[in-house]
Symmetry: C2
Subunit: 200 residues, 2 copies
DNA sequence: CCTTGATGTTGCCATTGTCTACATTCGATG
DNA sequence: CATCGAATGTAGACAATGGCAACATCAAGG
């Protein structure tokens, strides 16, 4: 009808949930979790401060959705890397994901959104965990192998966290690029339960 | 003097800074970083909502002080463990610290308080990092040894983080207690650059 | 075409961090 | 011992947030 809102969008956004997740994801990475504001995200998209609550019961639920998306992306990255480069490539993909999206990575593994209360998050996280264990099982069989699997996972997870600290990263690089560093660190380890590993 | 505030303390608290850090440390561990409120901490101690700002420029500075204290405690725990039990005991102490104070541990290594802006935090963190590297250097010499040192640190750091997740911890324990699990995982690893290690 | 549910808007409340101005006390100095 | 200044409190206000209730608008289905 003729009564117009000059340069305003239609009353119905059409895909507000996805737009909120994109905006919140960018804000998370740029400003950190504490300064992620639903009001600002909504304002940036051009809807009112309360519109997000039509798509997410509360702020924590939106954060849980961001974390679930993160696990989906991490799972994909690891799977692609494993298909072409094996276990070490898979580990390197894990670290690369963390370094590329540090705040998302922290959200995924932090305590801000307990997965016990968010089913989709729990499912996506569990899927990644199970794929990891399945990928390692042939190389690290038996109960000692399961401990070694946890060690392998701990190694790449911890490396991700430590390299997010710029001082630690700077001290470790010693003129190498990050991919070279990650490979060198991953190759410095042998697992007591391991079958002989193909070199990279 | 006789004009009394029944059951109220004197106008000057006397050690408000330390009291705030204790109260905030408890609130951090109990409710998480997002729900740590300086107003509530002040109220619980019996001072006004603005009194904390006489001791800390802002909320982030108090959090930085909490993180700095955490690094001091972690350093002490690791040093004591190393003195009596060597490198593996030191690694186990690191994991134990994280599991005992998960929110503090996350604060210490998270992005909420950048250590670039908080000198005491930077110093305490650096001291722990340097001690760790010094402890590992005799066992893991040379440039490959430094990569292996980072791997060793990543291993215990990652293990700490992963075991904070109750599902991961539950799946990994398989009837063992946590100390046994941690020992088994740490022992499942060999370092390519290592001298022969004394068994535990 | 009407009704209903989905999805927006508006206004309000409680709480927070932090600012300014003022009040009180303690310690140092003369 | 008295005074002064700094340290350390209190009181009030502001801007921002998350989230609630009530109302408004639109799209889809019968």
């Amino acid at each position: 009808m003729a009564t117009s809102r000059p340069r305003q969008r239609a009353y119905h956004h059409g895909d507000l949930q996805a737009a909120l997740l994109r905006a919140a994801g960018r804000m998370l990475e740029k400003r950190g979790l504490a300064r992620l504001s639903l009001r600002q995200a909504a304002g940036g998209i051009g809807v009112s401060h309360n519109a997000p609550y039509r798509h997410f019961p509360d702020r924590d639920s939106l954060l849980a959705a961001l974390a679930a998306q993160g696990f989906a992306a991490l799972g994909s990255a690891m799977q692609e890397a494993a298909a072409s480069g094996g276990l070490r490539a898979m580990g390197a993909a894990y670290v690369r994901f963390a370094l590329r999206r540090p705040q998302r990575f922290r959200l995924m593994f932090g305590s801000a959104v307990p997965s016990a209360r968010h089913a989709a998050l729990r499912e996506n996280a569990t899927r990644v965990f199970e794929r990891l264990v399945q990928a390692l099982a042939p190389q690290l069989p038996g109960p000692a192998g399961r401990d070694a699997s946890l060690a392998a996972w701990a190694l790449v997870h911890g490396l991700s966290q430590l390299l997010l600290d710029e001082r630690i990263a700077a001290a470790a690089l010693r003129g190498r690029d990050r991919d070279t560093l990650v490979s060198a660190v991953l190759e410095s380890i042998r697992f007591a339960a391991a079958k002989a590993q193909t070199p990279p």
